[in-house]
Symmetry: C2
Amino acid sequence: MSVAAQVVKKFINDPETVVPEALAGVAAAHPGLVRVDLEKQLVLRADAPVAGKVGLVSGGGSGHEPLHGGFVGAGMLDAACAGAVFTSPVPDQMAAATKEVDGGAGVVHIVKNYTGDVLNFKMAAELAEDEGIQVEVVVIDDDVAVQDSLYTAGRRGVGATVLAEKLAGARAEQGGSLTDVAGVVRAVNERTRSFGVALTSCATPASGTRIFDLGADEIEVGVGIHGEPGRRREKHAPAREIVEMMLEPILDDLQPAQGSSVLAFVNGLGGTPLLELYLLFNEVNGQLADRGITVGRSLVGNYITSLEMAGASITLLQLDDELARLWDAPVKTAALRWGV
Amino acid sequence: MSVAAQVVKKFINDPETVVPEALAGVAAAHPGLVRVDLEKQLVLRADAPVAGKVGLVSGGGSGHEPLHGGFVGAGMLDAACAGAVFTSPVPDQMAAATKEVDGGAGVVHIVKNYTGDVLNFKMAAELAEDEGIQVEVVVIDDDVAVQDSLYTAGRRGVGATVLAEKLAGARAEQGGSLTDVAGVVRAVNERTRSFGVALTSCATPASGTRIFDLGADEIEVGVGIHGEPGRRREKHAPAREIVEMMLEPILDDLQPAQGSSVLAFVNGLGGTPLLELYLLFNEVNGQLADRGITVGRSLVGNYITSLEMAGASITLLQLDDELARLWDAPVKTAALRWGV
């Protein structure tokens, strides 16, 4: 493949200002829903802090939209901290967000397991606690593809983050205590596993060229959301076989009982058409049915992306009645909305 | 660029069965919302026909998802007919859909202006009328980029279709007559203009290779949603300049008065990250403000796509109080949902 083919054109003005310009767009597009602190790069629930409610703060590098800013609103996050593309936000941002959303009942930090994010959120929690705010930090590490990775000790945090934000957000909205809400995040993480496959790489605005090369007949099995390598490269294969490759390690690890009900989340990594995501969901649904597992709830679309990477991830959450109820509870954010 | 670089990998089993497999996925993912006739390739509102309500039917070639199947539900479409990728559905599908959703108050067909779609919907309307169903066919042609195109006599129908489906769907839900509902579609079409730009081509599942070639520093200005050529090729440019290139022909044609309020819709063509779409929206918002035009409502995301094409379109609708009210009315579909 020629070098020229590796260039990825983008709609940007200046690689340095992509994130603040996009955040200004978020502010202009969703004025009733969120307010944006452009200086600190925070997306905040418009009515934060909500008195008496446990606050939920998440964040991470940009380039995974709608995660996290698209999930700020009633029934989900109170604040999202945006870092530069694929770069953790800093503790000051997280501490400022924590202070802004604290309604007196404490704040939960939902943190994807990447070394920088974990360190910075822990430091932010200490800063906030110094100011008398109770903080619980919960780390998400649902990606069964690899143990340790380019930016991670242990498993990476991926799709479970979206589900934890929704489910814990519902519990907070319903008046759950700090312990309750953090407990939902932990329960979701324990009951959820994910696996991703890339068909192409992506390119950061700063470099403008693809992070890695994949041949015209190759796929990256177990890819991370920053283009981190997966388990192996394989020849491209029919969707049926790719879904088998993804479900097998998830189910090996999750070990759901026959007759279990799961939330099946088929997520696009950014550059894959929705047509293909629904086709993948159909495979997931069929292959789970063959194993005696029911899809009780589902989510299909681009929710945790890797810029324009073509690819998809599958996330399975073992449901119980309480988690199903929390899933169905109203949510009002830019990217997930129902019941209001 | 090498030939190998033109291959686009996809998550499919067989190019022949992409659409029915994806529709089966839609059925499995949204059981309470829609039912899917897999044989006829129809996505139908779960509770259709709604007695006494005007029915809304749209459809077209697949590959533009979530258009149209993602817009089926209360407050929007009653049925969507899916053709093969980039190929019009046939009159039998449209006639069957019309019959399924007729609640006794007549049915409106919302048709994007492509030669095959227009012919087939007109034939379907005749078939339905032969069975005693009143049908109004309204053609959408909002794309100011080109007059006549590869598959179109006159202007192409693009982003206005999404807005017409939402706004006319709201009027139908509120008890509007056949004349009222068709009138909303016509008013939306008259008050709306669009323009698209591509950074890359896309590939149909059947061919697996890109429809057209664009150099690493080229963009297609005025592109259609099937990869049809636009007005011209240009050197790639900063987002600010690209938005100027898009807004100028829209505003020249729409001629909104100073002080007007518009609905600004920044649409991704499939392969462009949401981060960039919000950055584009920020540009649109700023450049309109500079011209004394207010963005009263907005929509940002992938709603009418061209498979994995990287690119975006801008659609502006001149609002009035009634259209703003219809926009805010509840809608419950897979891809657009609020108020319920």
